[in-house]
C-alpha cells in the first residue's frame, strides 16, 4: 500500500507518481490523505490501480480516468470523473454539478446526491446515483446510462440524444425532447445489470421509470421553433 499525504506532498508529485505507473506495476493500491478540498486530485490515471482518497476533494477529481478505480471517502466539487473513459469512480458522499460530464465509459457511482447537470453531454459512461440529481441532468446526453435512485430536478434530459435515463423517484420536470418511455425487457436487463454492478440490492428494477429522447429535435425544423 502506497500512502501519499497531501499535507506534506505536492499534488503535482502525487499525480506524477500515478502517471508514472505502468500496467504491470505492483504498486496497485494507493491511499491519499488530507486532500482538504484540493482540485484535480488523481486526474488522468491510465492503469488499473486503486486510489482511495480519505476526505473531501475539489474540482475534477478522477478527471479523464482510464482503467483505475478511484474511491473518495468524502464529497466532491464540480466535474468529478469528467470525460472518464473506463474504470470505476466511487464517491461515498455527495457531488457538486457536472458529475461525469462528457464521460465516455466506465462506472461513476455516487452514494449521496448529485447537483445540477449530472451526466451533462455524457457519451457512454454509466452513472448510478443512490440519492437524487439536480436540474438539467443528462443535458444533451448522447450515450450511456444515468440511474437515479432518488428524485430528479427540473428539465431532466433536456435536448437528449441516445442516453438512457432511469429514475425511481419523482422527476420535477422533463427537458425539451425528453419523454417517458416504455420499460422493455432489454431495458429491465440493462438496469438490473447496472444496479448489480453498483452493488445495489435495496431497489427493484420494476420501481424505476425509463426516460429517453423523443427524437423530435434531431433535425432542425422550423415547426419546432418554440423548443429552440
Amino acid at each position: 500500500m502506497e500512502t501519499i499525504d497531501l499535507a506534506k506532498t505536492e499534488l503535482r508529485e502525487l499525480n506524477q507518481q500515478l502517471h508514472d505507473l505502468t500496467a504491470d506495476t505492483d504498486k496497485t493500491n494507493w491511499t491519499v490523505e488530507n486532500p482538504k478540498g484540493m482540485h484535480n486530485v488523481a486526474v488522468g490515471l491510465n492503469v488499473p490501480v486503486t486510489v482511495e482518497i480519505n476526505g473531501h476533494v475539489g474540482y475534477y477529481c478522477a478527471g479523464m480516468n482510464q482503467e483505475a478505480t478511484v474511491i473518495v471517502n468524502g464529497s466532491c466539487s464540480t466535474g468529478v470523473a469528467e470525460n472518464m473513459m473506463s474504470g470505476l469512480v466511487h464517491i461515498k458522499g455527495n457531488v457538486s454539478q457536472s458529475a461525469g460530464a462528457t464521460g465516455v465509459g466506465g462506472l461513476l457511482l455516487i452514494d449521496g446526491n448529485a447537483s445540477s447537470r449530472c451526466g451533462i453531454s455524457m457519451k457512454g459512461i454509466d452513472i448510478v446515483v443512490k440519492g437524487s440529481v439536480g436540474h438539467m441532468s443528462a443535458f444533451m446526453g448522447q450515450k450511456g446510462n444515468l440511474v437515479v435512485c432518488g428524485d430528479a430536478g427540473d428539465a431532466l434530459g433536456d435536448s437528449l440524444y441516445e442516453a438512457h435515463l432511469y429514475v425511481k423517484g419523482v422527476v420535477k420536470s422533463l427537458g425539451a425532447d425528453c419523454i417517458q418511455k416504455e420499460m422493455r425487457d432489454e431495458h429491465k436487463k440493462e438496469l438490473g445489470d447496472l444496479l448489480e454492478k453498483a452493488g445495489i440490492t435495496d431497489h427493484k428494477v420494476e420501481d424505476f421509470t425509463r426516460y429517453g429522447s423523443a427524437r423530435e429535435l434531431y433535425n432542425f425544423k422550423i415547426d419546432n421553433v418554440d423548443a429552440y
Binding site: N40, M64, Q66, S121, N219
Partner: protein, 445 residues
C-alpha cells in the same frame, strides 16, 4: 422592364440583396446558415500602411540580409513549448466539417513549412496526427472525440471559448455531413444534426477556467502549452482574464474569422473586427507585463504577408489562417465553375460549407467529392501559399529595417482612414493624430 434603366432607382436600404433575403426568409421560414466568414466591409489591415525606411531609418537588403521568422509558443509554463519556423499557423477546423483529405493536406502543407495545424470540433484523426508534426488539440465545449490518449499525443492544447465568426455561439454539423466515421467519433447516431454547445459543460467563468487549465496541465504533466482561444468582443478584459487563468498562449479570432456553418446574422453582426481586437489584446498583455511572456496568435481575415506583418507589428507573436488555407487547397477554384453553377453559385462566391456538397472536395464527407482533393497536391499548394506570405511579410519587415518580423512595431504603421486610425490608435497618415487621442483609454474598451 423599361428599356430606360437610368430611371430605375434602387433603395440603399432595401437593395436587391436585402429584398432577396426577405423573400427567401418568407418562403423558407429559416435563417441562412453558411460557411466562410463575414462578407461585409469593415475596417481592416487594408486601412493601414507601413512607413518604409528612408533617411531616418535604414532598410535591410532583400535576399541578402537575414530577416527571421521563427516563433516560440508556450514559454510561460509548458515544459515543451512549440517552435515554429514561420509565424503563420493553421487554424482549428474539424474533421467532420472538413474531409479527411483536406485535413491531411493541411497537415502536409504545414509540415513542409514548419508550422502547426489544429484539430477542431470532432477530435483528432490518426491521419491528422500522422501528417502534422506539430498538432494543436482543441478542447471544445462539445468534447466530441475528446479523450486523454489524444490529449497526450498533442503538442499543445487549445481551450476554445469562442471563435470570431460566432463569439457566444455554439455550432451545428448538419445531418447530411455525418458519415459513419464522423458519427462514431462523436458518439452520436448518423444523419442527425449534431449540436455543439456554446458553453463548456464543467466550468463557467475565469476562476473555474483556472482550475480547468490546471487539470489539463496535471493530466499532461505540465508538458504542453495551453492556448486559450477567444472570439473578439470584450477583448481587453477577456485577454486579461485568460492570462490570469494561466494561459500560455492567447488565440484571438476577429469577427472576420471563418466558420464551417453559422447563421449569417451571427457572422455579420456579432464581434469586433480583428483590427481593434489585436490592439486591445496587446494593450492588455502590456498592462499585465505579460507581452511576449504569454504569446498572442491572431486570426480573422489574414490573407497576405501584409496582413501578417501588420498583425505582428501590433505585437502579435503569430497569426493563424483558416479560410485562406482552404482557398489555397482549392476552395472556390474556377476549375469547378460548372459544379458551382449547378449549385446556384460561382467560383469566388461559394460559402455553403454546411451542406456537404463542396465541389472542391474540402468541406464534404462524400467520397466522390473528397476524392477530388489530392492531399499531396493540396498540401503543396498550401505550402506554396504559406511560403509566399512569409516572404511578403519579410519583404515589409526588411523595408522597415527589421532583422526579425517580430521587430516590427506599431510606430511603423499609419492609418488611411479615420475609422482605422481610431480603432488601431495609429495616426492618420501625414498627421500625429488619431480620433480619441488624449481621452481616457479605458472608456473605449
Amino acid at each position: 422592364m423599361s428599356s430606360d434603366n437610368s430611371r430605375l432607382r434602387e433603395s440603399a436600404l432595401f437593395d436587391r440583396r436585402v429584398i432577396a433575403e426577405i423573400q427567401r426568409a418568407a418562403n423558407e421560414g429559416m435563417y441562412e446558415i453558411r460557411g466562410f466568414g463575414a462578407k461585409r466591409k469593415m475596417p481592416h489591415f487594408d486601412d493601414l500602411v507601413f512607413l518604409g525606411a528612408s533617411v531616418s531609418r535604414y532598410p535591410l537588403e532583400g535576399y541578402r540580409e537575414k530577416c527571421g521568422t521563427d516563433v516560440l509558443l508556450g514559454t510561460r509554463f509548458a515544459k515543451k513549448p512549440i517552435r515554429l519556423k514561420v509565424p503563420i499557423t493553421i487554424a482549428g477546423m474539424s474533421f467532420g466539417s472538413l474531409s479527411a483529405n483536406a485535413k491531411e493536406a493541411l497537415g502536409r502543407g504545414a509540415n513542409e513549412v514548419g508550422t502547426s495545424t489544429t484539430t477542431g470540433d470532432g477530435g483528432m484523426t490518426p491521419e491528422e496526427r500522422g501528417h502534422s508534426s506539430q498538432l494543436v488539440y482543441q478542447y471544445l465545449p462539445s468534447r466530441y472525440g475528446m479523450n486523454p490518449d489524444d490529449l497526450r499525443k498533442a503538442d499543445a492544447i487549445e481551450v476554445v471559448i469562442g471563435q470570431g465568426a460566432k463569439p457566444g455561439g455554439g455550432g451545428m454539423l448538419l445531418g447530411q455531413k455525418i458519415s459513419d466515421r464522423v458519427a462514431e467519433m462523436r458518439c452520436l447516431p448518423k444523419d442527425i444534426d449534431q449540436r455543439s454547445a456554446c458553453r463548456h459543460p464543467d466550468w463557467t467563468g475565469p476562476d473555474d477556467l483556472t482550475i480547468k487549465i490546471n487539470e489539463l496541465r496535471e493530466i499532461t504533466d505540465w508538458e504542453k502549452p495551453i492556448y486559450v482561444k477567444i472570439g473578439a468582443t470584450r477583448t481587453y478584459y477577456d485577454v486579461m482574464l485568460a492570462v490570469k487563468a494561466g494561459a500560455d498562449v492567447i488565440v484571438l479570432d476577429g469577427m472576420q474569422g471563418g466558420t464551417g456553418a453559422t447563421q449569417d446574422v451571427f457572422i455579420e453582426n456579432v464581434g469586433i473586427p480583428t483590427l481593434p481586437a489585436v490592439r486591445l489584446a496587446v494593450e492588455a498583455l502590456q498592462e499585465m507585463n505579460m507581452h511576449r511572456k504569454v504569446q498572442l496568435v491572431v486570426s480573422g481575415g489574414i490573407r497576405s504577408g501584409a496582413d501578417v506583418a501588420k498583425a505582428l507589428a501590433f505585437g502579435a507573436d503569430a497569426v493563424s489562417v483558416g479560410t485562406a488555407a482552404l482557398i489555397a487547397l482549392g476552395d472556390n477554384s474556377p476549375e469547378f465553375e460548372e459544379d458551382y453553377n449547378k449549385l446556384g453559385t460561382s467560383a469566388g462566391f461559394y460559402h455553403d460549407y454546411a451542406k456537404g456538397n463542396d465541389p472542391a472536395g474540402i468541406s464534404t464527407q462524400t467520397k466522390e467529392l473528397s476524392d477530388r482533393l489530392d492531399p499531396v497536391k493540396g498540401g503543396k499548394r498550401l505550402a506554396n501559399y504559406l511560403r509566399t506570405i512569409t516572404l511578403e511579410a519579410q519583404t515589409i519587415a526588411r523595408a522597415c529595417g527589421k532583422s526579425h518580423v517580430h521587430n516590427l512595431e506599431p510606430e511603423d504603421m499609419v492609418a488611411l482612414t479615420m475609422e482605422a486610425a481610431a480603432m488601431a490608435k495609429l495616426p492618420l497618415a501625414g498627421t500625429d493624430w488619431y480620433p480619441g487621442k488624449g481621452f481616457n483609454a479605458a472608456s473605449r474598451r
